[in-house]
Symmetry: C2
Subunit: 200 residues, 2 copies
Amino acid sequence: MPAKPYHHGNLRRALIQAALDIARDQGADRVSLRRVARQAGVSHAAPYHHFPDRSALIAAVAEEGFRSLSDAVQAVERSVAPPLERLHAAGVAYVVFAVTNPEQFRLMFSREIADTSPFPELNAAALAARGVLERAVAESRATRAVTTSEAVELAAAWALVHGLATLIIDGQLGAEAMSPDGAASLSRSAINSFWSQAAQ
Amino acid sequence: MPAKPYHHGNLRRALIQAALDIARDQGADRVSLRRVARQAGVSHAAPYHHFPDRSALIAAVAEEGFRSLSDAVQAVERSVAPPLERLHAAGVAYVVFAVTNPEQFRLMFSREIADTSPFPELNAAALAARGVLERAVAESRATRAVTTSEAVELAAAWALVHGLATLIIDGQLGAEAMSPDGAASLSRSAINSFWSQAAQ
DNA sequence: GCCTAATCTTTCCGCTGTCAACATCATGGA
DNA sequence: TCCATGATGTTGACAGCGGAAAGATTAGGC
């Protein structure tokens, strides 16, 4: 049994996991290449054989995040049939995902991977996640009196849940909202509030 | 005429301005203490006589940002009378401010000043800005059939405009939305879309 | 079984935030 | 008026960071 083999075996995977652990435990801003390498028990330059630079590591972590987000939203969608309620449930799931994985969520929307062109797989995962929300919006349109374009409705829906997510995990909507249950409850209310005020 | 006086005169002010310039020109993530000091024509340790650490500089820049935001929203509010339209206009102004000053907006919500307890003046400015939106929400409630709590309505309204702001400046809602006019138009549509879908 | 390429380490660079020690100067009390 | 003190600025140091270069080690195909 080799105590410390020269080659790691699956360092790429281990680095992504280490980044996730550090983000979860110490915050997304503390995810440095050197710290990640240290946590993975490897020299600080080893990551460069698996990622061209720091942003590529973040992109890999974010890519997994978008896949998890897609999965989480789709799982909730499967349990709700009526299209409008489905859309609402998808929105709540988006917020709950962010509150459950706040640091990974921050990495997913961090500035250094804003330009996804160097990371086609991240781009695909992000587009897929956006597609899930897009489909929920589109399918709900058949059941409503629609006066706005689909693009605007998608933007509005996404903005609402994304705004809730970021404000909540930044602590700006109160401490109660930072628990999954609190976040779910607040999102549900917030989403409903926009439709319950028809009388102007 | 002293070419370079040993004492700057108003270095604190100059450092804040330099940080703003660097953020605007090169991005919020490139605002480093040393770069700011360099831009202000001063040694790299000089800022420490005016700010205890880097986050305090950011806090000062953010503080000014929140004041500008309050001013911008209030200026628009003054030109609109009906409470609901006023609320909508305030929301559009919030988004337009973010799109007009994207890097400063990012600094205002950057992670390192998320805990405002060390910066009471930043906290006050942020609370004041939130108060402007809060008042617009509260005053509009009298003109509507209200079924949700004020707290939830505030959260929903804030989340919608904050989500629009962050998504737009991150380029996730398309390039057209990144101009002030495009942002205003999209925000108006998005805000209206939530009220025009009463028929479920 | 060996050669090549992949993987990992060591060493180096410039940049960053922060601190300590020192230099300069503005200002108010004797 | 002068000078001492505190405010403001500089220099130099340190550790941690992202990244490049060069050498060590090993896995895997021929």
